[in-house]
Symmetry: C2
């Protein structure tokens, strides 16, 4: 497989751009294609069955672009569709749950880990499963924080409203004796400063851990891009490209120009 | 047309239940079928083109149930798809924008009306168009309040977070000399008490006005249900029926039992 082939990343919307930002930072030479399923965002409130179907369509679209590795940069989707994606597609598939779980187990001494995420991610128990697969003796407590995503997308990253909302959600997290908090949603790194001001435990940023995992997988399969310089960046969305670019540039911390709208209906597997 | 045929109501999710509640209150004998497109909620962040397509699919599904009148209980959808629904279906179609606009024009003396709603509803300018069609001399100012819907769906109907969010959004509304405020989103009646505590102008509740309009249309077409007693209530959603019932019962103020999940793909016009 050519090392020049792009990495494909999908998310339900803009959140996965925090993962793309880390990939660009850690692996600048790689060509990257990003798909945001903005016509059906947010996944965090949908049933597992529906999220699975959407994820397979997203994967199929990126496969049609000739990618060498598929990144599921959405916790909800990683939680419910990773195995199905691995079964269906002939390239390595990296999710955001496993890397975050591994980093949390390395950090904890009290063997108590807290996870925050969307309702679907928390209800799926995916972090608990992934953490216990590494170390059975670790206790995992999950807490859903459904308002963080809309607050972050509204751009309210500082001030009373986001701080009070975070305090309300994190009150019970603070008092459970845990010494690692997993940010189990790709949006949450945007309000790390708020969360870190309330909770004293180290925060595990899945985006950072996922980018490290991508490097490991590419090294193992000897498909790491050897070339110097900056790789290409392409963006696809299923709806409202201008809105995506506007909000997304805050996430990516660089301009989003090469963007197209696509329909996924032809990719229904 | 038989007067016993049901009224069909659709919305992107639970919001339209505030309209259904008013229909049940004002017209208890009518049989009502409600469709919530919870697999693709929220419409307020999507492009007009996408909302139009989803609305036609929703309408087609309800037509297949043999309804006598179609209610578009979603401001975003009313704003962009009312004409297309009227062109495509042989029954009367009632939206939530026109009744709200009419009531606001009757109330205002300063001839300055403010409208709050989702981003798509406000950007569409639909209330301005509907109000100016009644009285050209009225000034209309629109204000998007994207966080109200997630806050209401989270059930945070009281307390610091919703109050501060409302103050932040309504600050500019208060100072523009208007004397009527249209709640241009079917979710907003749930926080009428918060909004009314910040803005002194009368609030126009589109749900109440839409139910009055439904009565007028049924009277005109002589299809008002003549029978006594309570009509039947049926609910359909495109995803996560349990979650819909849980949140929806707060909106409807009664139990939601007769609920099924449906796929709309066969109804793509």
């Amino acid at each position: 497989m050519s090392t020049e082939l792009p990495i494909g990343i999908f998310d339900s919307g803009v959140g996965g751009l925090t993962v793309m930002k880390e990939v660009i930072k850690q692996l600048p030479a790689e060509n990257v294609i990003y798909l945001g399923d903005t016509a059906r965002v947010p996944y965090g409130v949908r049933s597992s069955e529906t999220v699975l179907r959407y994820s397979l369509e997203n994967g199929q679209f990126l496969m049609s672009k000739g990618i060498k590795l598929l990144v599921v940069a959405c916790n909800t989707s990683s939680a419910v569709s990773l195995q199905a994606l691995r079964d269906n597609f002939p390239v390595p598939v990296v999710g955001v749950v496993e890397p975050g779980a591994r980093a949390a187990v390395q950090v904890t001494k009290s063997k108590k880990i807290a996870v925050i995420g969307t309702e679907t991610t928390i209800q799926s128990g995916s972090y608990e499963t992934a953490i216990k697969a590494i170390d059975k003796s670790v206790e995992v407590a999950g807490f859903a924080c459904p308002l963080f995503v809309p607050l972050i997308e509204e751009g309210w990253l500082d001030g009373d409203v986001v701080t009070l909302t975070a305090k309300k959600y994190l009150e019970s997290v603070k008092n459970n004796g845990m010494d690692a908090l997993v940010l189990g949603c790709t949006h949450y790194p945007m309000i790390k400063h708020i969360i870190g001001g309330i909770v004293s435990a180290p925060l595990i940023d899945s985006a950072v851990e996922t980018a490290k995992e991508i490097r490991r997988v590419l090294e193992q399969s000897e498909t790491l891009c050897g070339r110097r310089g900056q790789g290409s960046r392409e963006f696809y969305v299923t709806d409202a490209p201008h809105k995506f670019a506007g909000v997304g540039e805050r996430f990516l911390e660089q301009a989003i120009t090469n963007i197209s709208r696509v329909s996924l209906e032809q990719f229904i597997p």
